[in-house]
C-alpha cells in the first residue's frame, strides 16, 4: 500500500469515528456544550470551573461534561481536517494526472471546511434543525469521496482485480437510486429526530411514544423508504453476487454487508418506535446508515471498475 492509500484509509476511519462522535454530541444533548465557536467559553481549553467563565457568557450555560463532549467533536474535526489536508497533498503528489482522485479528495477537503463553518452556524442558531441535517449530510458525502478516491487509487495499481469478474451492465441507475434513497432516508431520519425535539419542547414531559404519534407522516415515509432500500439492496445483491460471473471478494463482502446492515437498521428502527427512543440505538441507527452509504460507494466503484476493464 502506498502512502496515499495508507493515509486515505486512516482518514476514512477517522471520519467515521467523527460521524460517531458527532452523533454522540446530538444524543447526549451536548450541541450547545460550548456556546461560542471556535473557542469554548472564550478559551482554547474548556473551563473547569465557573470562575473561569468570561463575563459576557451566561454561567447557566456552563456544564463541564457537555462542554467536553462538544469540544472533543471539534478537536477530532480539526484533526480530520488536517488528515484530509495531508491526503489531498498526497493525492496531488502521487496522482497529479488522475482527476477523479485529486478532484474527489479536493472536494472532500473543501467540504470539510464547509463543515467547520456549519459547526459555527449551529452554535449561532442554537442548533437549527436544517443545519444539523446538512452537517450530517456533508459528513456522509465526505466519507464517500474519501472511500472512492482510495479505491480508485487501489485499482490504478491493481488493474486486474476486477478483470476476472463480470457483472450485469447498465446498473448505474440502481446505484444512483439507492444512494439518493439512502441520503433521503438519512434526511428524514434526522428530521424525525429534530421534529421529536421540537414537539418535546412544546409539550414537555410527554413520553416519547406519544410524541412519535404526534409526528405524523415523516415516520411512515421513513419506514416506507426503509422497505424500498431493503428491496433495492436485495436486488443488487442478487445481481452482483448471484447473477454475475466470478464476483470479486470485495463485491461479495460489500453486497452481503449492505444487506445485513439494512436488516439491522430495520430492527433498530422498529426498536426505537416500539420500545423507546433509546439514545444509544439512535446513535447506532445513524452510524450504521453512514456505513451503508460507504459500502454502496465501494460496491459501485468495484462494479464500475469491472465495466471499464471489459470495455
Amino acid at each position: 500500500m502506498n502512502t496515499f492509500r495508507t493515509f486515505s484509509f486512516i482518514t476514512t476511519a477517522m471520519t467515521y469515528l467523527l460521524i460517531f462522535v458527532g452523533g454522540l454530541v446530538r444524543v447526549a444533548g451536548a450541541g450547545m456544550g460550548c456556546p461560542d465557536w471556535p473557542k469554548c467559553f472564550d478559551r482554547w481549553i474548556p473551563p473547569t470551573s465557573l470562575d473561569q467563565l468570561p463575563d459576557h457568557i451566561d454561567p447557566a450555560k456552563f456544564n463541564i461534561v457537555l462542554a467536553w463532549i462538544e469540544y472533543s467533536n471539534r478537536l477530532l474535526g480539526a484533526l480530520v481536517g488536517l488528515a484530509i489536508m495531508i491526503t489531498t497533498y498526497l493525492a496531488f503528489k502521487y496522482y497529479r494526472n488522475v482527476i477523479r482522485i485529486t478532484g474527489s479528495v479536493l472536494a472532500a477537503f473543501f467540504l470539510t471546511l464547509v463543515e467547520g463553518w456549519l459547526g459555527s452556524v449551529l452554535v449561532d442558531t442554537v442548533l437549527n434543525p436544517i443545519t444539523i441535517t446538512l452537517h450530517l449530510l456533508l459528513a456522509l458525502v465526505i466519507v464517500m469521496l474519501l472511500l472512492y478516491s482510495a479505491q480508485e487509487a487501489f485499482y490504478l495499481e491493481n488493474h486486474d482485480s476486477e478483470k476476472g469478474s463480470r457483472y450485469p451492465p447498465n446498473m448505474k441507475w440502481m446505484f444512483g437510486i439507492l444512494s439518493i434513497t439512502l441520503l433521503a432516508e438519512v434526511v428524514l431520519g434526522t428530521e424525525i429526530r429534530g421534529g421529536l425535539e421540537m414537539i418535546r419542547e412544546d409539550n414537555p414531559m410527554l413520553d416519547s411514544q406519544f410524541l412519535l404519534r404526534m409526528l405524523g407522516p415523516f415516520k411512515y415515509i421513513h419506514t416506507m423508504l426503509g422497505f424500498i432500500i431493503s428491496g433495492l439492496s436485495g436486488l443488487l445483491w442478487l445481481r452482483l453476487v448471484k447473477q454475475s460471473q466470478n464476483p470479486s471478494t470485495i463485491m461479495i463482502q460489500s453486497s452481503t454487508a449492505i444487506l445485513g446492515l439494512v436488516i439491522t437498521q430495520i430492527i433498530m428502527g422498529e426498536l426505537l418506535v416500539f420500545l423507546d427512543v433509546i439514545p444509544l440505538i439512535q446513535l447506532f441507527h445513524m452510524w450504521v446508515a453512514s456505513w451503508i452509504l460507504g459500502l454502496v460507494m465501494i460496491q459501485y466503484t468495484a462494479w464500475n471498475q469491472s465495466q471499464l476493464a471489459h470495455e
Binding site: L24, A28, A60, V65, P204, M205
Partner: protein, 195 residues
C-alpha cells in the same frame, strides 16, 4: 469469523460501551445546587390577592423582575416567559411569577391588563407588586440581584425555584440558549417530583 470482522466487532462494542458511559455522564451532569432559600415576603397579585413565599412551596417556579413600560430587554424576557407559560400548560407542577420593579406605575390594574395582553388566562402566571422598598429588598437581598437603579437598571435573570422555595439557578432571560438550559432543568425537576 476472520480477523477483520473480529476487529470491527470489538471496535463497535468498545464504541458502544464508551458512548453509553458518555450518555450517562451527560444525563447526570445537570445538577442544580441549592443556592439559598427565598426569604419571606408578602406582595399582591394582579388580582389583588396576597402572594407570599408560601405560594412558592409545592410548585416549581420560574421568576423574573420586570416592568410593563420597559422598552429594553423586558419585551424579549416577557416573550420568552410567554412561550414557557404556553408550553407548560399541561405541566401543573410549574408556575411563573413576574415581579414589577416599577410599582408606582404598575398597580394591580395595569398588571392585570399586561397579563391579559400576554394571554394569561389562569393562575399559573402571577404578576406581583408591592412598595418599591420591599421589592428592592427582596430583589437585592433575597435574590442577590442588582437593584440599585430601579426600574431601569433591573436584572434580566430568570430564577428557578424548587418546590421547597429554594433558589436553584439563574438564567439569562433574553438568551435563547440559556432558556433551552432552563427548559431542560425544569423538566429534570418535574421528573424529580414525579418519581
Amino acid at each position: 469469523m476472520n480477523k477483520n470482522s473480529l476487529l470491527i466487532l470489538m471496535s463497535v462494542i468498545l464504541l458502544g460501551a464508551g458512548a453509553t458511559w458518555v450518555i450517562q455522564k451527560a444525563n447526570s451532569s445537570h445538577d442544580l445546587p441549592v443556592i439559598k432559600d427565598v426569604p419571606s415576603f408578602l406582595f399582591k397579585t394582579q388580582d389583588g390577592e396576597s402572594f407570599s413565599e408560601n405560594e412558592l412551596k409545592g410548585k416549581i417556579t420560574v421568576l423574573d423582575f420586570m416592568f410593563t413600560t420597559c422598552a429594553g430587554p423586558c419585551p424579549i424576557m416577557t416573550n420568552n416567559m410567554v412561550h414557557l407559560y404556553q408550553d407548560y400548560t399541561n405541566v401543573e407542577e410549574v408556575q411563573f411569577v413576574s415581579i414589577t420593579v416599577d410599582p408606582t406605575v404598575d398597580n394591580e390594574e395595569i398588571l392585570k391588563q399586561y397579563a391579559n395582553a400576554n394571554g394569561v388566562d389562569d393562575d399559573r402566571w402571577q404578576f406581583l407588586t408591592s412598595d418599591i422598598d420591599a421589592i428592592k429588598d427582596l430583589k437585592k437581598n433575597g435574590f442577590m440581584l442588582y437593584a440599585d437603579e430601579l426600574p431601569r437598571g433591573h436584572a434580566i435573570k430568570f430564577v428557578l425555584i424548587d418546590p421547597k422555595g429554594r433558589i436553584r439557578k439563574y438564567y439569562d432571560g433574553t438568551d435563547k440558549a440559556s432558556i433551552a438550559v432552563l427548559r431542560n432543568d425544569l423538566n429534570n425537576l418535574v421528573k424529580e417530583i414525579r418519581s
